[in-house]
């Protein structure tokens, strides 16, 4: 049985955040401008996009629920 859409989005969010946190961890090992740029341009955006995907999955599901509950029962 396929997973619900919200769970697939949560999984995607987890993947993005996980990759972002991993890249951030790697940059901590190294005091160098490239580490700084990698943190800023790779780690932070991945985590930020992951968080947005997660929040969107919550909002989108709630709005779908809200729309379906507002439909009259036949």
């Amino acid at each position: 049985m396929p997973r619900p859409l919200i769970e697939r989005r949560i999984r995607l969010a987890g993947l993005l955040i996980g990759l972002g946190l991993l890249s951030q961890l790697v940059t901590f090992l190294w005091i160098h401008p490239l580490a700084f740029m990698a943190f800023l341009l790779v780690g932070c955006p991945l985590v930020a996009i992951g968080i947005v995907v997660y929040l969107y999955s919550l909002v989108a599901t709630q709005s779908v629920d809200g729309a379906s509950s507002s439909q009259p029962n036949h």
Partner: protein, 217 residues
């Protein structure tokens, strides 16, 4: 590993562990407790870890090691060890008038990443030039704007030794002009030997004692 890095790593590892748990066992989020776990793992902890990590990166970017990590800056690093009291940065570095671990940033507070938006863009450009552009000769590197007396005065201002120095009272208005920035500390034939990396080939160098050595009793 210092405390800041330790906290950064612990937060990131904890966040990573919880994110992995939620991503691999996503059906956990169907229960109320799983929803709270997902919110913590996918919103609170990654946000906190990134914020703490960003502050740590900014702190590391102020370090002397960070500034000197590009090859083009190595001569400027060497100039801090010149055994000649006329070299202003060397005197400050060797006598711990500035913290050795943050020597560059203490006197160049508005340089690249730490200045206003234009300075930050310049910092990004420096990284680009380092890897993809034509790196200038070290002696061709100049400040973008004349050195501001503010950098000297944030330590020297209102100190007795500075205010009462005869060199600063050659004319009745000299001290006021220094404070107002009309008279540059570096460009008035007073403190005009700064990094002077062209002269390094003729210089002798001070050897720093091991930072962990204890004084003899």
């Amino acid at each position: 590993m210092n405390l800041t890095v330790f906290v950064e790593v612990v937060l990131a590892v904890l966040a990573l562990a919880l994110v992995s748990l939620v991503a691999l066992r996503v059906e956990l989020t169907r229960a109320q407790g799983g929803k709270i776990l997902a919110f913590t793992a996918l919103f609170i902890l990654p946000g906190l870890a990134t914020w703490v990590g960003f502050n740590g990166q900014m702190d590391r970017a102020e370090s002397t090691r960070f500034c000197l990590s590009c090859h083009v800056m190595s001569d400027y690093g060497k100039s801090l060890y010149v055994d000649d009291p006329s070299f202003v940065p060397a005197v400050h570095f060797q006598n711990r008038f500035v913290p050795r671990s943050h020597a560059c940033y203490t006197c160049h507070t508005d340089y690249t990443l730490f200045g206003p938006f234009h300075s930050k863009l310049r910092g990004v450009r420096h990284v680009y030039v380092q890897y993809f552009g034509t790196i200038p000769q070290p002696d061709k590197i100049k400040l973008y704007t004349p050195y501001n007396n503010r950098e000297c005065l944030h330590c020297h201002a209102d100190t007795r030794r500075f205010d009462e120095a005869t060199e600063h009272k050659k004319t009745p208005t000299m001290l006021a002009e220094i404070y107002s920035g009309k008279l540059s500390c570096l460009g008035s034939h007073c403190h005009d030997t700064i990094h002077d990396i062209k002269d390094l080939q003729y210089a002798t160098f001070w050897k720093e004692r091991s930072p962990h050595a204890t004084p003899a009793h």
